[in-house]
């Protein structure tokens, strides 16, 4: 299958200018990253501040252009000026701060903003707005002012705004960083729903490990490079390595890891509570002798 996003040896340098407008220093935010995403996948990119994950995200929507290397979105080079409109329509983007990306003064007007820019006919826009708002379960709020919504609701409106543009791929750049736990769950649920039901490719950038346990692929970035890549199970099996890079693992994974270290016969890479319970029950029924002192 043709890949939806293809990144080849992408390098991005931020340049700092002095007062005379000359380059004073350069900072390499993304360093030779190559990545291939298939349509319909749910990809999570992890990493803490300054790991280059947000810079990478902005390349997928042609907001930033490569210093070296190339980025292809649905087969189109982001450096091609003429294709920029198509690229932005193919890869929608949701940003971190919900307040700063809502343009309309009423919820449905904001969702209509993207399709209006694309020149979609009026009746079609109405349909898309309804469909977008229903996907993120915000239809009842269509005539509200965005200022009166909670953070999670605003972020869902932003997602609906992107959905209404009918993109093949949605890049969510730390959409949950400014939200409370309830809002975080709402946003992640909306993203998963889009991926499962509409088969939209999702690229979720975050630093909350709990949000990525169901992803098809997890990519861990550090200092502009890809540190690890694989299924959540594979990545979270490497607890010690993640810890070295000051990255957390989900609490359950951590607990399982500690139990294993103290002698229980549990596999690495446990991601959910149910999984851990299952393993523990199995241990008890088989009456394993190992670690009997801890689990009598």
């Amino acid at each position: 299958m043709k890949s939806i996003i293809n990144i080849k040896k992408l390098i991005h340098d931020y340049q700092k200018y002095n007062e005379d407008g000359q380059v004073e220093s350069t900072y390499r935010a993304v360093d030779e990253v190559s990545l291939d995403v298939q349509p319909g996948q749910f990809i999570a990119i992890l990493g803490h501040n300054g790991s280059g994950k947000s810079t990478l995200a902005k390349h997928l929507n042609a907001i930033l252009l490569p210093t070296e290397g190339s980025v292809y979105v649905d087969g189109k080079d982001t450096r091609d000026e003429e294709k920029i409109r198509e690229i932005r329509q193919t890869a929608g983007m949701v940003f971190q701060n919900p307040d700063n990306q809502i343009i309309g003064t009423v919820v449905d007007e904001d969702v209509a903003f993207g399709p209006e820019n694309m020149g979609v006919p009026s009746e079609e826009i109405e349909k898309r707005v309804e469909e977008g708002l229903k996907t993120v379960e915000m239809w009842e709020y269509r005539s509200h002012s965005p200022n009166k919504l909670s953070g999670g609701q605003k972020q869902r409106v932003a997602i609906a705004g992107v959905v209404a543009m009918h993109p093949k791929c949605i890049v969510l750049d730390e959409p949950t960083a400014m939200l409370d736990p309830v809002g975080r769950r709402e946003v992640i649920r909306a993203a998963r729903k889009l991926n499962k039901e509409e088969h939209v490719t999702i690229i979720l950038i975050t630093h909350y490990m709990e949000e990525v346990t169901f992803a098809d692929q997890v990519i861990v970035m550090d200092q502009g490079k890809i540190l690890m890549q694989g299924t959540p199970k594979e990545v979270f099996s490497r607890v010690e390595e993640l810890k070295e890079h000051r990255l957390d693992v989900p609490q359950v994974t951590m607990l399982a890891h500690e139990l294993r270290k103290s002698g229980l016969n549990i596999p690495e890479g446990i991601l959910t509570r149910e999984e851990l319970i299952g393993e523990l029950v199995k241990l008890k029924t088989t009456g394993a002798t190992e670690g009997g002192a801890i689990c009598p």
Partner: protein
């Protein structure tokens, strides 16, 4: 709560006036103001009064909301009346000590007072029945012909609607910064005007920085959603004149003719 304030003074209810196209309302308001200056006679003003009362009745907006707008200009109104009443020379009506009220003075003063009151109530009818958004939309579409002489109508309308959207956000932010600075010992209340203004600096600097940051983010978000200016854009709900708008436009010349006829026939 600070976030609950509404911008403008829109009174949400459903009436024929509310549903009129904002362009119709703009044109009507302008014509009404124009007519008040053009036909200076009691008979014409009677026509204007009847129209105003009828429109207020149809709009279903309580009368006290209309009068609210008057509060701001009451002093201006009184001064105007006073000056006109006492300073215009002519045939004396009453004289108390050195104050002289002339017939001409009384006449002008009454017209001035009526004109100002009707002006304000007349435009209040528009702002009370039209959301700020509809107004910007109306202006964008109504002034679209100016595009031909390179007036950036769409850009101005877009800026206005973004400004409207960010007013409550920035107000909330101001509130937050104020509290944060007060917690660190900043004083916004005491002192004379100059010290008060100086004390505003720790409030204004962070507010401006944050506003610029927001503007930057917003520009990026708009670009990411494919915004390239007004060209080739469509509207979800384009403004289309309805039957009621057509009726309103038919009544407009009739009203102006009635004003004119009233002045000619009655003569005062």
């Amino acid at each position: 709560m600070i976030r609950d304030i509404t911008i403008g003074q829109y009174y949400p209810t459903d009436s024929v006036i509310h549903r009129l196209d904002p362009r119709t309302k703009l044109v009507w308001t302008l014509a009404y103001i124009f007519s008040l200056f053009l036909f200076r006679s009691f008979a014409s003003y009677a026509v204007a009064t009847i129209l105003l009362i009828t429109v207020i009745k149809i709009s279903k907006v309580p009368f006290k909301f209309m009068v609210k707008g008057m509060k701001a200009v009451v002093i201006l109104l009184l001064i105007t009346v006073a000056f006109n009443l006492f300073l215009i020379p002519g045939t004396t009506l009453v004289q108390i000590w050195k104050l002289r009220i002339t017939y001409e003075g009384l006449n002008t003063a009454v017209f001035m007072a009526l004109r100002l009151t009707y002006l304000i109530i007349g435009s209040s009818v528009m702002t009370l029945t039209t959301t700020p958004n509809q107004l910007t939309d109306g202006m964008e579409k109504g002034l679209a012909p100016l595009n031909k002489i390179h007036v950036p109508v769409h850009d101005v309308a877009m800026m206005m609607s973004i400004a409207l959207r960010f007013i409550p956000i920035l107000l909330e932010e101001t509130d937050k910064i104020m509290k944060a600075q007060m917690a660190r010992g900043a004083d916004f209340e005491t002192g004379n005007l100059i010290t008060k203004a100086k004390n505003m600096i720790p409030l204004l600097v962070p507010l401006f920085i944050s506003a610029f940051r927001r503007a930057n983010d917003l520009a990026m978000a708009m670009e990411a959603r494919g915004y390239y200016g007004g060209e080739g854009r469509t509207k979800m709900r384009p403004l289309v004149y309805q039957k009621n708008d057509r009726i309103a436009y038919i009544i407009l010349p009739l009203y102006l003719m009635a004003m004119f006829a009233a002045k000619k026939i009655v003569g005062v």
